[in-house]
């Protein structure tokens, strides 16, 4: 593997980490909104 390949793999690994971080934050926000809907659906009163 060349230095360039190593560099590409490093950037790819960083990209993966940033994309995972975006998804984690978005999932947390979406979970909050999902909590709004769930009680209404489950509460018969």
């Amino acid at each position: 593997m060349s230095t360039r390949d190593d560099e590409i793999r490093r950037v790819v690994a960083e990209l993966d980490a940033h994309m995972a971080a975006v998804e984690a934050s978005v999932a947390a926000l979406k979970a909050l909104l999902a909590d709004d809907e769930a009680p209404g659906q489950e509460d018969p009163s």
Partner: protein, 161 residues
């Protein structure tokens, strides 16, 4: 193996020349690799005729010869396989990055989450979460630009506007 199926005649020639081998030497190396695995291959003079044809691209080597090339040039073919893996990985990244929400969508989620009091997250935490997502999204765009520069083309494509 799949990577070798994509090898051009020009690549076969460059592999041979990188070793400093002439065609008769290449033929001997193929026959030696065949002997090591007990395979039956063409006679030396037959290979000496076929190798230039393969290298010119006039004929493609049959599977057993492709496998022998793989054996002889294991180090170079291994590099190609790694390269093919990388290309697939980059395609995955492109697709993954394109599926991420845009900053506007994150702001919309943030506004919806802030619209009503929460027990599990304070407004400050909600804002921090949204800001964090947008920061990482910008990093994704920056890293994709870095990757494109490393590749010297636009193979990764545009992920974020």
């Amino acid at each position: 193996m799949r990577a070798l199926a994509d090898v051009t005649g020009e690549t076969l020639r460059s592999w041979r020349e990188s070793k400093g081998w002439d065609v008769p030497r290449m033929a001997r190396e193929l026959r030696k690799a065949a002997r090591d695995t007990g395979e039956d291959v063409a006679a030396h003079h037959g290979l000496v005729k076929m190798i230039p044809q393969w290298e010119r691209g006039g004929r493609a080597p049959r599977e057993r010869y492709r496998l022998l090339y793989l054996k002889v040039f294991e180090d170079m073919a291994g590099g190609m396989a790694a390269g093919a893996d990388l290309v697939m990985r980059l395609a995955e990244i492109r697709s993954h990055a394109a599926s991420l929400p845009a900053p506007d969508e994150i702001r919309t989620l943030e506004a919806a989450a802030l619209a009503k009091p929460r027990k599990t997250m304070t407004p400050a935490e909600i804002r921090a979460r949204a800001a964090e997502a947008i920061i990482h999204l910008r990093e994704v765009a920056a890293k994709i630009a870095e990757l494109s520069a490393l590749l010297g083309d636009d193979a990764v494509g545009e992920a974020e506007s």
